[in-house]
């Protein structure tokens, strides 16, 4: 949530400032050396830019869409991206153009774990087969030359098990994109054909680009179905399958900053505000059934939130019980737990649980997210519960005990109802924080609301609309939660009961 808010601010605020800044028109690649260059974090473009333009100010973005937005909004002067995808992108962004010619061509292929040599060999054999039969040539022809973007139907029966492919869904055509909530593209077709060849079903886990190799080496995924460029560094960690394409890099910038186009009149008729919104709504939500993506994201966000709240509350009660125990073997571990969990970012805990704790276990990332957020929530909840319980006068407990209740019954009938009423206002805040905190699950390949907006942005390259839209969705979730907790607070007020009774 905060992330989204910051992004909106980031994009909106400096617009004015940058608009007035004139930069030296770029005529060739040499001119990049003292410019601001946007690249994707951990990509070969990133390495290339650092190596060839040490003087330049290099900004590392997390997704291609962010690189593109950086260029469009003037955060960076130039972006570097793969030349193939860029051709597609430029088609829908007439204000951008490439500088000079593509460069640094390199073979690309899928990545396989060094531990799973068998799968690697199987892929190479399979690749030879489709090359021989002409299927491969046909694929290249369709996706990259003719621009036919329909996926052929490929059966992937679950005969011999499941193949898990890690990929990045927002790379763009011809390799991969989401249309009507389905993955399509050259990568997808190739991976599916490979699965079919093995007689396996296939699942695509959508991840951050930087998380692909760690996920492969820890066994979260079976292979990487992304156009990975062959680099020495990567070769040390993974095995590359037979290269199936060659990709170069292109630098691109706003036309008005490129010498070649700078004299062209690039001002376009700007549509009215409402028409703009309507267009944005059409392209970001309706087109290619993107609302399905948002709907799935919304469901995931809600499921993770609710599970984490339940788990966190349960865990919090246990930790609180241990923390309040007089036995130091119980309360010291609880104290340590609380200070560690409160002293580390949730994102770090989330990654540690996913990549370290459950490294070799095939576990649904939603469960991992539930555990991570629940653990964090539990630490805070434990302290909230404790302050609530300790805030109740000793006399209440004594009165219960003196009456003949045992300790447990006194707690249940006398202490607990008073505690709940006391802590609800603070607990409400904690729960809302938790809901907003879930926006980081994209890091472990869960498609939540934020990730859905990232995917949409990567297709439409519209910064404003998807962000505002999901900001509103998050707000609505929080609002509904606040309302229902307010209601709970109201009905647990003993005097409310009387009001109801007297009305009856």
């Amino acid at each position: 949530m905060i992330k989204i808010f910051l992004l909106v601010l980031y994009i909106l605020i400096p617009l004015q400032a940058n608009a007035n800044k004139e930069i030296q028109p770029i005529s060739n690649l040499e001119d990049l050396k003292n410019k601001k260059i946007g690249v994707m974090l951990g990509s070969t473009h990133d390495a290339f830019a650092h190596k060839h333009y040490p003087e330049a100010d290099i900004l590392q973005y997390k997704s291609p869409a962010d690189v593109l937005l950086g260029v469009k909004t003037g955060k960076v002067d130039v972006g570097i991206y793969n030349n193939v995808s860029l051709t597609e992108i430029l088609k829908i962004n007439p204000d951008l153009a490439v500088i000079d010619k593509p460069f640094e061509f390199s073979p690309v292929g899928f990545g396989f774990s060094k531990k799973n040599v068998e799968l690697h060999t199987q892929f190479n054999t399979f690749f030879q087969t489709i090359k021989d039969s002409g299927i491969y040539d046909d694929m290249i022809e369709r996706w990259t030359k003719k621009g036919i973007t329909d996926m052929p139907k490929i059966d992937t029966p679950n005969k011999n098990g499941l193949l898990v492919a890690g990929h990045v869904s927002d790379v763009g055509l011809p390799f991969v994109t989401l249309r009507n909530n389905e993955n399509i593209g050259l990568n997808i077709e190739l991976a599916k054909r490979f699965a079919a060849y093995l007689g396996k079903d296939i699942r695509f886990d959508d991840m951050e680009f930087g998380g692909l190799i760690p996920a492969l080496t820890t066994g979260k995924i079976d292979f990487i179905a992304v156009t990975l460029m062959f680099t020495e560094e990567r070769k040390q960690k993974i095995n590359f399958g037979e290269p199936y394409y060659e990709i170069g890099m292109s630098a691109f910038a706003l036309k008005k900053n490129i010498a070649l186009y700078s004299r062209e009149n690039t001002t376009l008729d700007s549509p009215t505000f409402f028409k703009n919104i309507l267009n944005s709504f059409q392209s970001n939500i309706i087109q290619e059934k993107r609302y399905l993506l948002l709907w799935d994201g919304l469901k995931t966000t809600i499921i993770i939130s609710i599970l984490a709240i339940i788990f966190g509350t349960f865990l919090g009660s246990i930790i609180c019980f241990l923390r309040m125990s007089r036995n130091k073997f119980l309360n010291i571990p609880a104290k340590i737990y609380i200070s560690i969990l409160r002293g580390t970012p949730v994102l770090v805990i989330l990654m540690i649980i996913f990549y370290v704790v459950f490294a070799s276990v095939n576990i649904n990332p939603i469960i991992v997210a539930t555990i991570a957020f629940g653990m964090n929530c539990g630490a805070y909840a434990a302290e909230i519960f404790r302050s609530g319980i300790e805030g109740i006068e000793k006399g209440q407990m004594e009165a219960g005990i003196a009456m003949g209740f045992n300790k447990i019954k006194t707690f249940v009938y006398i202490i607990l109802p008073q505690t709940i009423r006391r802590i609800l206002p603070i607990y409400k805040g904690e729960i809302i924080t938790l809901v907003k905190m879930t926006s980081i699950v994209g890091y472990i390949a869960v498609q939540d609301l934020t990730k859905a907006s990232d995917i949409i942005r990567s297709r439409t390259f519209d910064a404003f609309f998807p962000l505002i839209f999901i900001a509103i969705l998050y707000f609505l979730i929080s609002l509904i939660l606040i309302q229902s907790l307010d209601y709970l607070e109201k009905i647990t007020d003993p005097k409310f009961k009387r009001k109801v009774r007297t009305k009856l």
Binding site: Y413, I414, Q418
Partner: protein, 362 residues
């Protein structure tokens, strides 16, 4: 019904109760009085194990409740407690405060518990507050609800821990009259209280506790009208005292006068009585003066807030010596003054100690 043997309670090194042994019979109303911090409340709280005794044994109906096999919760249901700070359950209405115990502990049905609770609320005069919540009641009302809540559990014994100490003076009587009524109905009760008149009037037996002991016990008449032991007397008569030690002939007479005046001021002694006291002290010291180098004199002035009696005691060690019996005086004006302003003069020589007591008219 309750038998206590050698009950002791220590908090670390601090000994609060020292080997208390006593017995309380069914139907008895016992008041426990005494200065603050002498273990009255601790004694009461030990009886139902809210505080666990350090040693000794407590028998309720012949069962030792310190025995680990005994279910203390069951014993507590028979022996309920009323607290100084009421401790009503703030999340429950008055009626629910009463029905909670019978329903959850005795398995009573809602209807039965509610009708019984309403009867009890009528008994304490609060039936119309049944739907109210504790924070909407006055202190006196809260304490009456707390008593009714106790009664709802049908206890055989009720322990009252300073039930009126947290109340406004105007609300004390409404609570006391409810307790009085219970006493008449034959409920066994142990009451820790500072309300002396009430204790005298309601109880069969009074314990005076001091320094962790039952220092003196007896019928209310014995304890309140004719206490035998010193500390009991001091407490019952609310006696305050002031001691001045004279070692030489050259003692600071003005300091003595100043301190006597301050003491009298504090005790609200009438001005005339104070003037008389000062005169008597002066005359007495003139009589003592020739001997002051040979003996050490303790002057003690005591005042009882209850009887308003002011007394002056002079104590010295050694041979029998009474300054009022000196024969070779130049004149007897001093003696006359002393006689005129005092109501009674007692002299005693015992164990080599002279004790001269002068009691003043009021």
């Amino acid at each position: 019904m309750i038998k206590v043997e050698n009950l002791s309670k220590k908090y670390g090194d601090l000994v609060v109760l020292k080997n208390i042994s006593t017995e309380i019979k069914k139907g008895e109303v016992v008041s426990i009085i005494g200065p603050s911090g002498t273990g009255k409340s601790t004694f009461l709280r030990c009886l139902n194990l809210l505080d666990v005794p350090s040693s000794g044994s407590i028998f309720i109906d012949g069962k030792n409740i310190l025995d680990k096999k005994i279910d203390v919760s069951k014993i507590r249901q028979k022996m309920n407690m009323v607290f100084q700070s009421f401790n009503l359950f703030s999340h429950l209405s008055v009626l629910e405060n009463l029905t909670l115990g019978p329903m959850k502990l005795k398995g009573m049905s809602v209807d039965a518990a509610e009708s019984k609770s309403m009867d009890l609320l009528r008994l304490v005069g609060l039936a119309e507050k049944a739907e109210n919540y504790p924070d909407e009641l006055s202190g006196g009302q809260k304490q009456r609800v707390a008593i009714a809540r106790c009664l709802a559990m049908e206890p055989e014994i009720i322990l009252f821990d300073e039930p009126t100490s947290a109340l406004d003076p105007t609300m004390v009587s409404e609570v006391l009259s409810v307790i009085r009524r219970l006493a008449k109905e034959g409920m066994t009760m142990i009451i820790v209280t500072h309300e002396m008149a009430f204790a005298k009037d309601v109880s069969n037996r009074v314990f005076y506790m001091d320094q962790g002991l039952i220092y003196e016990e007896g019928s209310p008449q014995q304890i309140f009208d004719a206490p035998k032991k010193d500390r009991t007397k001091v407490f019952i008569n609310r006696i305050r005292n002031f001691v001045f030690n004279i070692k030489t002939e050259d003692f600071d007479f003005y300091a003595l006068n100043g301190e006597i005046e301050a003491f009298c001021e504090k005790q609200l002694v009438p001005k005339l009585v104070r003037a008389n006291l000062l005169r008597v002290v002066e005359e007495l010291l003139i009589l003592y003066k020739p001997f002051l180098n040979k003996l050490e004199l303790d002057l003690e002035i005591t005042h009882s807030e209850k009887t308003n009696q002011l007394a002056l005691t002079c104590q010295s060690e050694g041979h029998r010596f009474n300054p009022l019996e000196i024969n070779d005086l130049e004149d007897d004006i001093g003696l006359k003054i002393i006689k005129k302003f005092t109501e009674a003069v007692n002299f005693e020589w015992k164990d080599n100690k002279n004790r001269l007591e002068l009691i003043f008219n009021n």
